[in-house]
Structure formats: C-alpha cells, structure tokens
C-alpha cells in the first residue's frame, strides 16, 4: 500500500462527527471490508436527521395535502409547504411560490422544455428558433431538448469542449444568436467536475433575449446556490444527491414565467376549476404539481437542506475543495492515470473522472469494489463527453462532505492494486 506523501489539506470539516450521522457509511462489504463510498455524484447517502423527519411524518402526520380540514391534513400541508419555504431560503429564491417540487432533476428539465414547446409568444420554441446546450450535459439535459427540437422543428445547437475539460465559449456569439430562444447548461459537470462560467453565458443569452435554464444538480449539494445571483430563469436540481430522499426534485423558475407559461402535467391539485369541457389552473407552484405530490420526500428534502445549512454550504464547499486538491495531487502519482477534466483544483467540483492505462473502467471499478471502494464507471449519463475525449468510459470518484483524506488514500492504494492486477 502506498503511503500518503502529500500534506493533509486545510479547511476540512470534522468528518468524524459528521459520519456518525450517516448510518450507511458504517457498512462493510465483501466479508468485512470497510466501505469507502466515492460515488456521491451518482447519489449521496442520507443523514439520520433526514430519515427521522420522514419517519416522524409517516408515523404522526401523514395525510394527503391541501383542501383537507382535518388535523392531519393541515399538519401534512404545513410540513409540505414548510419544506418549500426551506428550499426557497436555501437557494435564496425571491418567493416561495417559485419553488416547484418534481420527482427528480430530469422531470424539472423536461417540464421546462415542454412548457416552452406549448407556450405562446414570446417564449414559444418552434421552427426557425434555436435551442442551445453544451457537449458536457447530462442526458437529462440533452434528450428533453432533442425531443423539443424534433417536435417543434427548432434547431439544437451546442457549445463544444476544450481539451482540458472546459466549455469552449470562443464562438459564443455564433452559437447564441437572435434565433436562440433558450440556453440550457450544467453549472457543474457530473463527469468532468468543471464549474462553468455562467456569467458569460447568461450575459450573452440576455443580450439576445433567450431564456436561461441551469442544471444545478451537481451544484446544489456542494456549494452555496443563489438563484438570484445566477440570474437564470430556471434552475433544476435533485434531492437524492444532496442528502435528501429519492423521488423528489426541484424546479425553481422566475415567478413571471411560471405565471405565463402553460402547465405540463394535468390532474388533481394543479387546477382551479374543472368542468368536463374546460379547466382553469391554480397559480404557481401548484399549477405544475399535478397529483399527490412527493409529500414525505419534500419533508425529507427540507430536513436535508436544514442539515446542509446547519453545517454551512461555504464550509462544505471548502471541505470538498480541499479534498479535491488532495485527490488531484495524490492521483497524479499513479502511473498511467489520465484525468478527464480540469487537472487543477480551480473552478472544479469534487468529481474526478479518469482512465487508468488501457484497463477498462469496468475492470477498474470491479477490482476497487472488491476492496470495498465504491466508484462509478461508464459514461455517467453524459456519453457525448466520452465521445469528445475518444474514450469508451471513465472511472469516476466523487466526494462529499463526509469524504476523508484517508478515503482518497484508499482509492490511490486501490488503483495501484488494480494496475498490478491487470499489469
């Protein structure tokens, strides 16, 4: 086993205390090996506080929300709507009514794409207009726009990537033009770890009057997220990557847009009044929440943002930054390891993709797993990134507030073992 020869980084959180909150991190795998969970970009683990909040909800307060006059319905509604307040505060939304609960970030992004397809002018995306995305998007921010383009006749365009894993904005004025109706991009890449320069894109989009959608799925869990500072029109993220439960996502949208744009899913809760021949719709956010919402999951997400805010998003970002720098340093000592994405710690999140010699990532991941180290391998739902860099797949290690330098050391040792194994 290789010894850590990089100095321990500064700015770390007290992970010993934090890890006690996460029951799963105690697990052992493969006959007693301590789990080293480095698959946080795929999904985070959950603190006891979040599970407790959901259990308390189910055991004491559950009922369907809204319109009920009995105690449980009122308590459930207060808890559900209270979670909306918490999320609104967490992202500095000007109004709680701008927070729409969805089932995941993918639904949030599909919701926007569908609204723009059915919208009236000036928002309507149709033949003769352009949709702009980037080559580093998650499939969930590609396929909905491909659908929209196919169904409306609009043209899908995108920003390419530089060799060092950044957006190539050199041709920004040709990509975003007067034809552009909407620009949708990822704030932090889930493969490369790149943090994108949103100001420049937003500025150009505003110049041409295009709407801006930001996929913050990999940002919300890891850094302070301020939708007002972003100046976007829509921001999407997902609960399960930020200590929350599965089954819930968020779409934040500017009030005026949520008012003007048409609904997407139809059903209970999203209506104002219904007759057999016509219906009118409730004001946002309810207009976009058809059917029984993910009540317990909202309560869980509310507890998650409380938990994260309690530690402090600035401190979490600093911790991850320190771990990432440490990991980049340590990984640079592994022969034949090639980082796919920025190699410096600047403007990058705690997600590191790499290839190791010509060992297939599936083999890397499997042999790491046998040592208890959980990483993700494959194209990470962002296949165009792999195509761009001419590789079939990557191995990806991704950190979170509970990740430790010792876990980085375990990863590095594990990779040395992998090299030996297939060497």
């Amino acid at each position: 086993m290789t010894q850590a020869n990089a100095a321990l980084p500064a700015g770390l959180l007290d992970t010993e205390t934090i890890r006690k909150d996460f029951p799963l991190l105690d697990r052992t795998v493969h006959d007693g090996k301590q789990l080293v969970y480095l698959d946080n970009a795929a999904s985070s683990q959950k603190p006891r506080q979040v599970l407790d909040a959901m259990n308390d909800y189910y055991e004491r307060h559950h009922a369907n929300v809204h319109r009920g006059v009995h105690v449980l319905a009122e308590e459930a509604t207060a808890l559900y709507e209270g979670a909306r307040d918490k999320v609104a505060a967490f992202i500095n939304a000007p109004s709680r009514d701008e927070v729409v609960f969805t089932k995941n970030a993918s639904e949030s992004l599909n919701l926007v794409a569908n609204m723009l397809g059915w919208a009236d002018e000036p928002y309507r995306v149709d033949a003769g207009t352009d949709i702009v995305i980037t080559e580093m998007e998650h499939h969930s921010n590609i396929v909905p726009w491909q659908f929209l383009a196919q169904r409306t006749g609009a043209t899908l365009k995108w920003f390419g990537l530089t060799d060092d894993g950044r957006l190539d904005l050199s041709n920004i004025d040709e990509v975003i033009t007067e034809r552009t109706k909407v620009v949708s991009f990822v704030l932090v890449s889930n493969v490369l770890g790149t943090v994108n320069p949103y100001e420049e894109i937003v500025r150009r989009a505003q110049q041409v009057g295009a709407l801006v959608v930001i996929d913050a799925s990999q940002a919300a869990p890891h850094m302070p997220l301020d939708v007002q500072a972003l100046q976007a029109d829509f921001v999407a993220f997902t609960g399960h990557k930020m200590c929350g439960p599965t089954g819930i996502g968020v779409l934040w949208g500017r009030q005026e847009l949520l008012e003007d744009l048409p609904p997407f899913l139809g059903g209970g809760e999203m209506i104002e009044t219904v007759t057999m021949s016509a219906s009118t719709y409730a004001p946002a956010p309810h207009k976009f929440e058809a059917g029984t919402p993910p009540i317990a999951q909202a309560v869980g997400l509310g507890a998650a943002v409380d938990y994260l805010a309690g530690i402090g998003m600035e401190r979490i970002a600093a911790h991850e930054h320190a771990i990432t720098r440490y990991a980049l340093d340590r990984l640079s000592t592994v022969p034949d390891l090639r980082i796919i994405g920025p190699v410096s710690g600047e403007d990058r999140g705690a997600t590191i993709s790499f290839t190791l010699a010509d060992i297939h990532p599936h083999d890397v991941g499997q042999v790491l797993d046998e040592q208890g180290i959980a990483v993700r391998v494959g194209h990470h739902c962002a296949r165009p990134v792999c195509l761009r860099y001419g590789i079939p797949a990557t191995t990806r290690a991704s950190f979170y507030l509970y990740s430790t330098p010792a876990e980085v050391d375990a990863l590095v040792a594990g990779l040395e073992y992998v090299r030996g194994f297939f060497g």
Binding site: H362, Q366, G378, P392
Partner: protein, 149 residues
C-alpha cells in the same frame, strides 16, 4: 470473479484480429461501450475460424478469446450446444454450479461461472457469443435464426 483463466485469456487472447470470413457483425454493449467486430468462416458444417477485434473490459475480451478456443474446429451442432450451455450458465445469477458434464462442454469457459453473479457484467461476457450467433446465422443465411437472438 477474476479467475486466473480469465486473466490469462485477457492478457494472451486467442485468435484475436480480423481474418477472412463468410460474415461479419459488429455488436455494441451500449451501457459500457464494449464493442466487438466478429467474423465467422465455415467449411461445410465446421467452424473453420472465428476472428474478432474490439475493445472492452477483461471479461468481454477474455470471453471472446475463450469462444475462439472452444468453437474453432467444432461441428456447428456442437458449437451451438456450447453456446447454449454458456448462455444458461451466464443467466443463472450464480445459481448454477457447473457439474462435470457442464465442465466437459465448457472447458475454460466454466471460469465465467462467477461472473453470472454480477448482473452488470453478464452482458460483457455474452457480447462475443451473441455476435457469434448472429454472424453464424448470417453466414448460413438463416434469417429466421436471427429473429430468435
């Protein structure tokens, strides 16, 4: 999972490279990007050659090598029997412990028994075998057989 036999085939593959054939297929495992181009050549009823090229994990590479070793020189019926036995083993979710009869049919390929416990990897192990089945059907003009793949 990584039996020595598998690692051995991975590091020293049998019959790798593309040679003349009666039919060529290209198969892809979209979830991990494994790819194989495979050609079969028949002499009457006998598998005269299986040549292949591609990229992929050790399991898919080793599996192609084992396939080459096992099938080349066999009569078609016997080759099919091996293919089917291998398929059964791989789809067994670790439930089938190869007995002597199976070992006799599968030879080195029994080393893949452990892979069947890992659903994510079964497709890797089967990639070349599915390609072979497909290529064989084409070579022999069995369009109906292709349907059954």
């Amino acid at each position: 999972m990584y039996q020595d036999v598998i690692l051995d085939h991975y590091k020293h593959p049998h019959g790798r490279g593309l040679r003349d054939g009666d039919a060529e297929v290209h198969h892809v495992n979209p979830t991990c990007g494994d790819e194989i181009t495979l050609r079969v050549r028949y002499e009457g009823d006998v598998v005269a050659d299986v040549s292949y090229d591609g990229q992929g994990c050790s399991i898919s590479q080793a599996s192609a090598s084992v396939l080459n070793e096992l099938l080349v020189g066999k009569e078609l019926a016997a080759a099919r029997d091996i293919q089917e036995t291998f398929l059964t083993l791989m789809q067994s979710r670790g439930q089938v412990v190869p007995d002597d009869a199976m070992e006799e049919v599968l030879e080195d390929a029994v080393a893949f028994a452990g892979v069947s416990k890992y659903p994510a990897r079964v497709k890797c192990a089967l990639l070349s075998w599915m390609a072979w089945k497909d290529a064989t059907a084409q070579a022999l003009g069995e369009s109906a057989a292709k349907e059954k793949l």
